[in-house]
Point group: C2
Chain length 436, copies 2
């Protein structure tokens, strides 16, 4: 399409990295930086189509990262692109709101049972921060409790790395252990009247470890606890939104939060984030002043309306789940055939790949390197993302490539020192593994 | 183009407002909310072209707000739209950075003398927050000093309204008076070793009052003070960037900051924000972890490259300034002809309109209402924005309409009780007025 030659030695990528080192801190920053990926991953992408991406050296990949979440329907989804083109012809960023904003708020409140109103922003961090602010405005309290190790964004109050963060940024933050209701009760004990919100992801998707589904007892327990102490239950669905259940990830447990944060997948790659809230919080949400120069731009809202139309089909999540299950079954079988114990954890559309007996992720990194060299783009410390473009045919193509990648892995130096015997250290990572 | 009928009674706008009240907090939130504007302003826009916008009822306006800043080259600037269309055909939000990011960082560091590196984000608030975080990471200090009443964004640490904000969010914030170097020295006295940064806008553009240009003594004084105490001089050019001097608003004084935040106009309406920094801060900037799902999307970077190509022309600011001067001269003359003392303050491309003897802005609001009814979209408590689409012809068309608006104003009940005698209260608002 755009590039006609391929260069597996990444000559152009390296040249761009050299230039980037001159003008970008650390050579490159942000979650996609190649230094957070396994060796031999490209840094720079040239173009994308459906489930495929091409790096600047013309190498093609079947992409299991979906741009770290935003690409839900594949690149250049025709209905989304048509909606954006039509809106852009009218106007995107105008001196007033577009009707798309009202339509989108109506659509979200129809789709998500707990939502009586919506607000829109640009970043996931915008909306996780808004959850805290709205809960504080409503309750008049200051403390927010989060699970230890959970990722809720990259502002000073929540970034996982401490550089530039002051003690005051975190003084109103408390911590509990995910899926451990007693630890929540212990954390807030004596502080109940200060708890503005419990902010929690619907699954545990911390990097570097297997995903963990919330137990029904935990989900229902935090709901009940919030009700008991008059705190707000705020769910961070920035990563999971539209990939577990478009109506809310905890609907399966009959648990409805008071506030939900969404972003990433809701506009198929166009920049948008949403807060969804229950009626009793509408006044508090209206009392705060928050805004952004581009928060009300219409293109991404038109994209979201077109995205939701596809997501709201009953078959949508079924198809994602089937694609994820097909991938997981194929990968674990391929791993086992080469003597590896691969665990594919989490909801089918958010698969996390971890190997047993791999506490430092050396084997995972080696596999990621083998995969990317064979044309499959995935991550060894972060979950993958499944989208609509991952048709059964695409999953089968991915598996054809990973079959060779596992053969490569079996010949790699990292496989040399690896044994399938799990240590106690990574028992929780290997829980569901076939061999671990 | 899209609408063929006009309805000055705003029937469709009202219907959308009714629907919005059901599903959006406060009926509408954010800086463009009609409740922050003068009466009879529309809330919802249908489309836009060049310097014109059309509301959902088909009423056309010559727009002096430029979407509150972002639209610098007019809506649908051909070069920007072509660059975005070409990039979008390749890919916008991909599983890797695009070469546009390196090109844009190179372009910014070429354009802005103090900038040795760049980072990109989505919101103005993202980058004002980053200025604080980078300064803290570099200095190991916690305090940030800002001018009282200055707007630096809408996160808890900086939003102008306190709902949902905790004391801890502001505990590391100190305040001084704009253009008062002694007040800066007084504010930090005894705390010098805790000052991470002085964060300041290059002009005073607080809402509800006349703009104030920084004096050379103030600009040079804060620069010298930062050097004395080892603090970072951080300039918030989110609103002013590319409208005073693309090389930096304080270049005229020979004052170069260590960090600059930009957003709004840098990609002609596409969502983008930038941090520009001096070499000695590159390591600190690389040490913090910050990111966003859409921060590296390529479309807005392609838009920014095409925008900068036009902005870098030597005639660019000259033309903006000429358009702003033509508008200011016309408006003050028209006001005087009707017996009003209008002050047009600030840099020509960021004109703030205030009337003498109008402490509660009642006359300003009445004029804004008259203007919007005659087809000129402006604001009575916020500065206007001039862009490339404001050609001499468009400025003259605006002035034809405002001439009638001032006639309407002279007949209005608000004019009834108004006298051109300035009170001491608004002396600073009326400083340069012809009649005040």
């Amino acid at each position: 399409m755009f590039t006609s030659t391929t260069d597996p030695t990444h000559t152009l990528d390296q040249a761009l990295r050299d230039r980037a080192r001159q003008v970008l801190p650390g050579g490159m920053y942000g979650h996609m930086a190649a230094r957070f990926q396994a060796p031999q991953f490209p840094q720079f992408m040239d173009h994308a189509e459906g489930a495929r991406i091409w790096d600047v050296d013309g190498n093609e990949y079947l992409d299991l990262m979906c741009s770290w979440g935003p690409i839900l329907l594949g690149h250049h989804n025709p209905a989304v692109e048509a909606a954006v083109a039509e809106q852009n012809q009218r106007g995107d960023c105008m001196s007033g709101y577009s009707p798309r904003m009202v339509e989108l708020a109506e659509r979200f409140t129809d789709l998500v049972p707990h939502a009586d109103w919506a607000m829109f922003a640009k970043n996931g961090t915008d909306v996780t921060t808004l959850l805290c602010t709205i809960a504080r405005a409503h309750t008049g309290r200051d403390m927010i409790y989060v699970a230890r190790g959970a990722y809720h964004g990259a502002a000073p109050w929540c970034t996982p790395h401490p550089a530039g963060v002051t003690a005051a940024d975190r003084v109103n933050l408390g911590h509990f252990e995910y899926n451990d209701l007693d630890s929540v009760r212990d954390a807030i004990r004596g502080n109940e009247s200060r708890v503005a919100a419990i902010l929690v992801c619907p699954i545990r998707h911390d990097s570097h470890r297997a995903e963990e589904t919330a137990t029904p007892e935990f989900a229902r327990g935090v709901r009940q606890l919030c009700d008991e102490i008059g705190a707000v239950l705020a769910i961070d669905e920035v990563r999971t939104g539209f990939r577990i259940d478009p109506h809310g990830a905890w609907e399966q447990y009959g648990v409805r939060p008071d506030l939900t944060a969404m972003s990433k997948a809701i506009a198929n790659g166009y920049a948008l984030a949403a807060v969804l809230g229950a009626d009793f919080l509408k006044k508090a949400a209206g009392s705060i002043y928050t805004t952004g120069s581009f928060w009300f731009s219409a293109n991404s809202m038109a994209a979201s309306l077109a995205t939701i139309e596809q997501v709201a089909q009953p078959s949508f999540i079924q198809n994602l789940n089937a694609a994820g299950a097909r991938l997981a079954a194929g990968l674990t079988q391929q791993a086992a055939a080469q003597g590896f114990a691969l665990d594919v954890s989490g909801p089918p559309a958010l698969p996390m790949l971890t190997f047993a007996n791999d506490p430092d992720r050396a084997l995972g990194a080696a596999f990621a390197t083998c995969a990317v060299r064979r044309g499959v783009f995935l991550h060894h410390t972060h979950n993958c993302f499944i989208g609509k473009a991952h048709t059964p045919q695409i999953i089968d193509q991915i598996l054809q490539r990973t079959a060779v990648a596992f053969e490569d892995l079996a010949m790699s130096p990292q496989a040399e020192g690896w044994t399938p015997v799990a240590t106690s250290q990574d028992a929780d990572n290997a829980k569901t593994s076939k061999l671990g």
